[in-house]
């Protein structure tokens, strides 16, 4: 936080601005706006917010199986008997689990890597939850691993790395389809997306027989 931006702020105000400014995506101006909004906030609301922040730190743990963020030692997805235990979907971040759950199209389990391989930023495979994934694959009766890393170079590198480690285990490894997103214009698509969409094209379902003439 640049202290020059709040030269006359009272110390508690400056402290809160500085705290907000440390959050990702919050610049000095947004930090000031949030702080002055909170000054006008009813005391109960401020206390509820403070309590929510503290309880996140006190009560949230990583699920001992999938390493998603949860309140219990094992998360609700991993304890749900109705989930398909033969499939694990590997994602980079806890937020990716929420995104896939919103589709209601997947009923298997998850594994959260907590990042992706990023050599340029000095993040290697040993900093991700890959060893825990390999342990799960040895213990459990998993037949398919779905790689749902981000469709960018670092996500691809992570997928290729995992495929290399897992292929000797004899487990089927798949990944999410790559292609055009709904509502996008074809003319703006980049060559990789278009090439992937062409490679992953599928036959349009048709009626068994054409209408009789």
């Amino acid at each position: 936080m640049n202290s020059n931006s709040t030269p006359s702020a009272a110390p508690p105000v400056a402290r809160l601005i500085e705290a907000f400014n440390r959050l990702p995506g919050v610049g000095p101006k947004s930090a000031q706006r949030l702080t002055y909004y909170m000054i006008r906030m009813p005391r109960e609301e401020a206390e509820a917010l403070a309590e929510a922040v503290i309880s996140v730190k006190d009560r949230i743990v990583l699920c001992s199986k999938c390493l998603n963020i949860t309140e219990e030692p094992v998360c609700p997805v991993c304890t749900n008997e109705r989930r398909d235990r033969t499939r694990i979907c590997v994602v980079e971040e806890p937020l990716d689990v929420l995104a896939i759950e919103r589709t209601r199209a997947y009923d298997g389990l998850y594994h959260v890597l907590h990042g992706s391989i990023s050599p340029v930023n000095g993040i290697g495979a040993e900093q991700l939850k890959i060893r825990e994934l390999l342990d799960r694959l040895r213990d459990e009766t998993v037949t398919e691993l779905i790689l749902a890393t981000n469709p960018n170079l670092e996500g691809e590198a992570t997928s290729m790395y995992l495929q290399r480690l897992i292929s000797p285990l004899g487990i089927k490894v798949t990944r999410l389809a790559r292609g055009l997103s709904s509502g996008a214009d074809l003319e703006y698509a980049d060559e990789m997306t278009l090439a992937n969409a062409l490679e992953g094209r599928s036959e349009i379902a048709r009626n068994d027989e054409p209408a009789a003439g």
Binding site: P24, P119, N121, I146, L153, S167, R175, S182, D185
Partner: protein, 268 residues
């Protein structure tokens, strides 16, 4: 009257590095011919429907329309020139591409023209997608990059006294910036790397040739090891804190190509 409208410019670029910014934006480090390394924001690039997102992935060669900014420029349009697709489906090639991109970034200066470095990186990424000799390419790239940027190691004469070197085995000193003759070897307490006559001949050949001329060079295993140590030590002496992506390159260097993961979540 001074116009308040931002100045626009177009440029070619290679995406060297990126990080997330705000809700769905991306911060990019770009190598450009006219301005060297510049930083730019790409608004909304992380959203699936973004018109920019697919073009500005790491190691993409792109044409960009930009809004001029004081510290950060803004990407308004992007078109892919070459995404080097063949490199992206092989983790070994990919690791070498990332290593070359990091080297280029670490020796380049922000906002200083770098047309030769830009052309070198674009050509090398292109060769990386097809060459059978990716390690030789990385060594040639490192040498050429160091030469262009003024850090060329001395392989012809003693880096200490300047005397021409006898055709024999010698040692390399990263601290002194080149090979050292037997008389100067004992001066100083720097780390010395062995350099056999064979290694020295290969290094000289790499330094003076274009890549197509050395792409099929068959280098013996001992020479390979020595060249690797010499170039790594010299690069690390030029670049503070070493090259971060070298650990990943070393880990996957000898992995056989496994091919792309099957796509789709189709029902069996």
């Amino acid at each position: 009257m001074v116009s308040s409208r931002p100045r626009l410019f177009t440029t070619e670029a290679v995406v060297l590095r990126h990080s997330d910014l705000g809700e769905a934006d991306r911060l990019l480090w770009l190598l450009t011919p006219q301005r060297g390394v510049i930083r730019a924001t790409a608004r909304g690039a992380r959203k699936p429907g973004s018109k920019l997102g697919g073009h500005i992935d790491l190691l993409c060669h792109v044409k960009l329309s930009m809004r001029e900014g004081r510290e950060l420029h803004g990407v308004s349009q992007a078109d892919t020139v070459d995404a080097f697709r063949a490199m992206r489906t092989d983790i070994g090639r990919l690791s070498r591409g990332l290593y070359m991109a990091e080297l280029a970034q670490r020796v380049s200066v922000e906002d200083a023209p770098a047309p030769a470095v830009f052309r070198l990186l674009v050509n090398s990424l292109g060769w990386l997608a097809t060459t059978e000799n990716a390690d030789t390419l990385v060594r040639w790239f490192a040498l050429r990059l160091l030469t262009i940027t003024g850090f060329k190691p001395e392989f012809g004469a003693c880096a200490e006294c300047g005397d021409e070197l006898e055709p024999a085995d010698h040692v390399f000193s990263a601290e002194r910036g080149g090979l050292v003759c037997p008389r100067c070897r004992s001066q100083g307490s720097d780390v010395l790397q062995p350099a056999s006559l064979g290694t020295i001949k290969v290094l000289r050949h790499l330094a003076r040739s274009d890549f197509p001329a050395v792409s099929s060079l068959n280098i013996g295993s001992e020479e390979r090891r020595q060249i690797e140590r010499i170039l790594r030590s010299h690069t690390n002496s030029v670049i503070d804190r070493g090259v971060r992506s070298s650990a990943f390159l070393d880990e996957v260097r000898d992995w056989p190509e496994v091919g792309p993961v099957p796509g789709g979540m189709r029902a069996d």
